[in-house]
């Protein structure tokens, strides 16, 4: 696992000074790009359109940039994540003594991510999209001497190639049929596309984009690549890059392809909800903190996609009012996720660096030695649970509202789908709560489970600063989402393409217009906090007045002090749910025993191993790979090196031409 980091500290090695310069430059550049991005995206959101065309760059097509509210939204999210992650770049790189490639590619990565939503023609979109994939793959592979990172990088590259092929095919066709060839700001609808083709394009582009957001069935790269990337990159990937898959779906499938049959939305909801549950389960059973967070990213994106699907269904059913609720839900969920996930990765990264492990089973007690990281992580985890007071609450609330308010229709499919979606989402929320409780409770609270955790160093000031900023952002967003009201409106207007009176008003109360429903995260949050403080002050005052006995031993059924090995660890914590859902998480356990005597009566040593596998990875992809390999063998048989066969192929071609040419 990642034992390089503590090694660097332990042996007192410090990076060379010229490397430090690289790291610092990288950090500063990333932050500057982020700041610039915030400025430019705010301009996009508040009215002024940005447009740039340079025909002397990029062969055959030229460079064309443009923007609208939607681009602004995604660029804003990316830039904010870039700023917080960018500050964290320097301490991380210096601590882990990363290769210079990492330092050089991080600002580039942010730049490509910012350019994707700005690409105005289909070609430029494809270019920046693939450039982003390439740069992020390089970043994942930066630690390629580690087997895990290498494997993760390979998976990532394969899946993103498959996804890109799907996107390329669909967008190329669309580009050919678009009157202007423009993705943003092109006037005039797509012409002359047969329904069947349109459906095929939808399916391919949807799965292509969804793959970038870690959706089934092309999701396997995400839980591998995100954890293996350097932590600031994990934050960037999990909090910003996955969003761009959503951007693609909105821009191409929802906005670009125009009026849709109802089954498109149904497909989107199905994929989103299934992924959400699937990822939540895997997140729950992960013991690697970064992996847990990565699976949680897939889960949250599933929720967003589910919201988009609801939007699509409602739009197709001409219920624009509620559709906007779903869209607002998607946008708020997206923003909330980016905030809490970047905070989560940064604080987890700081914990990993000080405790020297990524495994929850070797952590514990972080809160005592490393309170800032732990508290930061707790805020992130609260956001990830989607409960009130957390950054994920408003988005999920809006999504559920839109599902609830989907009026009963004639379509039996929808009448069954909507409640099932609610059920699946609710299960997702429940599992996410369990997963995050596990991550925080086992990892940050409780007693240290390893020496690294027990002796972990205090959070360095620079990291504490980053975590504080991200925490404040997160809390600000979760208590008063009214800040982003205008952004949401501008983005949803850009998505709908028409100016409508928004059906969601986001002020101190979030109110749905036209239907009953309102909530006030601010009031709820303040009441809970004030209430807790009141209860606490009364009771603690009482406790202080009365006698208090500190440092009593733990209750251990009367025996001596239980050792820290006797605590529940992450595996044990998740075991009941894991057992219930074993079909999906596919636990493999193996118990190896060695006996000291030949009669096998005295046990010398025992080893226990367990792992969970992604059933798509173990069942589905190998089948595809084997089929391809068999096909390949067949062709290889025809190319076994016999010159006679080769001449016969030529002769056959010759005869065919003679026959055809007549």
């Amino acid at each position: 696992m990642s034992n390089q980091a503590p090694l660097a500290v332990g042996t007192g090695m410090t990076p060379r000074s010229d490397d430090r310069l690289w790291y610092l430059t990288s950090s500063v550049l990333t932050v500057l790009i982020g700041v610039f991005g915030v400025a430019i995206s705010l301009r996009m959101i508040f009215g002024s359109k940005i447009s740039l065309s340079i025909s002397s760059l990029l062969p055959l097509v030229g460079l064309h940039l443009s923007s609208d509210g939607l681009s602004g939204l995604f660029d804003l999210i990316t830039s904010i994540v870039a700023i917080t992650a960018g500050i964290y770049v320097y301490p991380y790189l210096a601590h882990s003594r990363s290769p210079r490639t990492t330092a050089a590619f991080i600002p580039l990565f942010v730049m490509t991510m910012l350019l994707v939503p700005m690409a105005s023609s289909y070609y430029d979109f494809l270019f920046f999209w693939e450039a982003m994939a390439l740069v992020s793959a390089v970043l994942v592979l930066a630690n390629h001497t580690k087997t895990e990172a290498l494997k993760a990088g390979m998976w990532y590259i394969f899946m993103s190639q498959v996804g890109f092929a799907m996107i390329l095919g669909s967008l190329a066709y669309l580009s050919a049929h678009s009157p202007t060839g423009l993705l943003i700001g092109g006037s005039g609808a797509l012409k002359g596309i047969p329904t069947l083709t349109k459906n095929i394009i939808f399916v391919f582009s949807f799965f292509g984009f969804a793959s970038k957001s870690g959706q089934l069935p092309l999701h396997s790269w995400l839980p591998k690549a995100h954890p293996e990337a350097p932590t600031p990159v994990s934050a960037l990937m999990s909090a910003a890059m996955v969003n761009l898959g959503i951007y693609g779906i909105i821009r191409v499938d929802i906005k670009g392809l125009g009026p849709a049959p109802i089954w498109w939305g149904v497909l989107i909801i199905t994929i989103g909800a299934t992924t959400a549950v699937y990822s939540a389960l895997h997140s729950l059973v992960s013991s690697d903190i970064k992996r847990l967070l990565a699976w949680s990213t897939g889960e949250n994106m599933g929720i967003v996609i589910c919201a988009l699907g609801t939007f699509e269904v409602l739009k197709s059913a001409h219920n624009l009012n509620i559709a906007q609720v779903a869209l607002a839900g998607a946008i708020l969920q997206l923003m909330g996720h980016s905030l809490f996930k970047s905070l989560g990765f940064i604080s987890a990264g700081s914990v990993i660096a000080s405790a020297g492990t990524r495994s929850l089973d070797s952590m514990g007690g972080i809160i005592h030695r490393n309170p800032i990281s732990a508290v930061g992580f707790s805020i992130a985890a609260l956001g990830a649970t989607g409960l009130p007071l957390g950054a994920g609450f408003v988005g999920e609330w809006l999504l559920l509202q839109s599902l609830i308010h989907t009026l009963p229709t004639r379509s039996t499919v929808l009448n069954v789908l909507m409640p099932s979606a609610v059920g699946l989402l609710a299960l997702t929320f429940g599992l996410a709560v369990a997963a995050m409780t596990k991550a925080f409770g086992v990892g940050m609270l409780s007693r240290p489970r390893s020496r690294g955790a027990a002796e972990s160093a205090e959070t360095p000031p620079w990291e504490a600063f980053t975590i504080s900023i991200a925490t404040l952002l997160c809390i600000g967003f979760s208590f008063n989402p009214a800040f982003v009201s205008k952004i949401v409106r501008s983005a949803s207007q850009a998505t709908l393409g028409v100016r409508t009176k928004g059906s969601v008003s986001i002020l101190s109360h979030i109110t749905l217009r036209g239907v009953g429903g309102s909530i006030s995260p601010l009031n709820l949050g303040l009441s809970v906090v004030i209430g807790a403080i009141l209860f606490a002050s009364i009771t603690e005052w009482r406790i202080r007045k009365k006698s208090r006995q500190l440092d009593v031993p733990l209750w251990a059924c009367g025996s001596s002090q239980p050792s820290s090995k006797m605590q529940y660890n992450a595996v044990a914590f998740a075991q009941p749910l894991e057992r219930i859902f074993n079909l999906v998480v596919a636990t493999q356990e193996s118990l190896g025993t060695e006996h000291a005597d030949s009669d096998m009566l005295i046990l010398q040593s025992a080893s226990y191993e367990r792992s969970n596998s992604d059933i798509f990875e173990t069942r589905f992809f190998p089948v595809v790979a084997r089929a391809m390999s068999n096909l390949s063998r067949l062709v290889q048989k025809g190319h076994s090196g016999k010159i006679r066969n080769y001449l016969i192929y030529g002769a056959i071609g010759f005869i065919i031409v003679l026959v055809v040419a007549r």
Binding site: I367, T385, L387, P388, F393, W397, L400, L403, I404, H405, T409, R410, N415, S420, V422, G423, L425, A426, G430, L431, V433, A434, T437, F440, G441, V442, L445, S446, H509, G516, I519, S520, N523, L524, S527, V528, G531, A532, I533, L534, F535, A536, T539, R542, I543, K546, S547, Q549, L550, V552, L554, W555, C557, M566, Q567, Y568, N569, F573, P576, L577
Partner: protein, 321 residues
């Protein structure tokens, strides 16, 4: 004037009333089961005595605790209190009810659970971890059912606002006996049992380590903090019973704009309903055995199916009407 006064004062009134009432509900329930089991029982006021005793005891703190251990009881109490302010317990709406709805109520309940679970994990004992793990296993399976049941209830009301649901049951009582609502009721009862840590999911009075869920997390608590937790737990039970009472049988529920005297009627009706439900609960518990932990999911799954069916049927009824 008085309307506004009542409207804005109701949350506090609800909090005070429920807060004072809560221990009685568990006291009544305990007394009834004692009688049914042929015991004398400690009387319905025993919970108050216990709270007083605990509040006066000294506090023992383990060395491994952190701030989360200290604050968990207050978060639990605070979330529960906020729910008691927001819910339609005495009236269909009040000044606080527009800030929350059924979804946020569920969220707050969950938040309380997590606070306690984290406290259980915080001290680093095996029991605490075990309790937290089991608690979250149950909770995460309960959540789908609750939400789907809410969904079913929200369809006729066109809102997930608790007051709106109660109001629609009040104005159209025939909706209560619609098949959808009945199924939802059944589902809701099961999840309330699970959420209130009662039979057949959990045994509130056990301290046997193999069967504990809720109690396992609280082993390290003592003194006033334990008192807060105990109080909050009984408040939760009251709230959950109150929700069943007022969402499905909102008879006598006060509506803003009615004569203030009716508020008293509403209080009385609420008290009777909750005590009645508490009695039924303890009656049922006598005849029930606790389920094995791995049988609990089956129970919850069946209640989920009930809820799902209720949604589909209410869709069906609303669509065909």
């Amino acid at each position: 004037m008085s309307r506004n006064f009542i409207f804005s004062g109701l949350p506090v009134l609800q909090l005070i009333m429920l807060g004072l009432l809560a221990p009685i509900v568990s006291g009544v329930a305990r007394q009834i089961s004692a009688k049914l089991e042929g015991r004398q029982g400690a009387g319905v006021l025993q919970p108050y005595r216990e709270l007083k005793k605990l509040f006066q005891k000294e506090t023992l703190e383990p060395s491994t605790k952190s701030i989360f251990f200290t604050f968990a009881p207050y978060v639990l109490a605070s979330t529960t209190a906020v729910i008691s302010m927001a819910g339609p317990f005495l009236a269909t709406e009040n000044s606080f009810s527009s800030s929350s709805d059924l979804l946020s109520v569920v969220g707050l309940l969950f938040l309380g659970n997590i606070a306690v679970a984290l406290a259980g994990l915080d001290t680093g004992t095996s029991f605490g971890g075990m309790g937290a793990s089991r608690e979250l296993t149950v909770s995460s399976l309960v959540e789908p059912t609750i939400l789907v049941a809410i969904f079913a209830l929200s369809i006729p009301a066109h809102s997930s606002n608790l007051g709106a649901i109660a109001a629609i049951s009040l104005s159209k009582p025939n909706l209560i006996f619609a098949p959808g609502s009945l199924l939802a009721l059944a589902a809701f009862v099961v999840v309330v049992l699970a959420e209130a840590k009662r039979f057949p999911v959990d045994n509130p009075s056990t301290h046997l380590e193999l069967t504990m869920i809720h109690e396992a997390m609280l082993l390290e608590y003592s003194g006033p903090r334990l008192a807060v937790i105990e109080w909050a737990s009984s408040l939760r039970l009251t709230i959950l019973l109150g929700l069943i009472a007022n969402l499905f049988f909102p008879i006598g529920l006060f509506r803003v704009g009615q004569a203030p005297i009716l508020l008293l009627v509403s209080c009385l009706a609420f008290l009777i309903k909750v005590l009645l439900l508490g009695s039924i609960l303890s009656l049922a518990e006598v005849f029930m055995a606790k389920l094995r932990l791995f049988r609990v999911p089956e129970l919850l799954a069946s209640s989920f199916i009930l809820a799902l069916l209720s949604v589909v049927t209410s869709y069906f009824f609303t669509a065909t009407r």
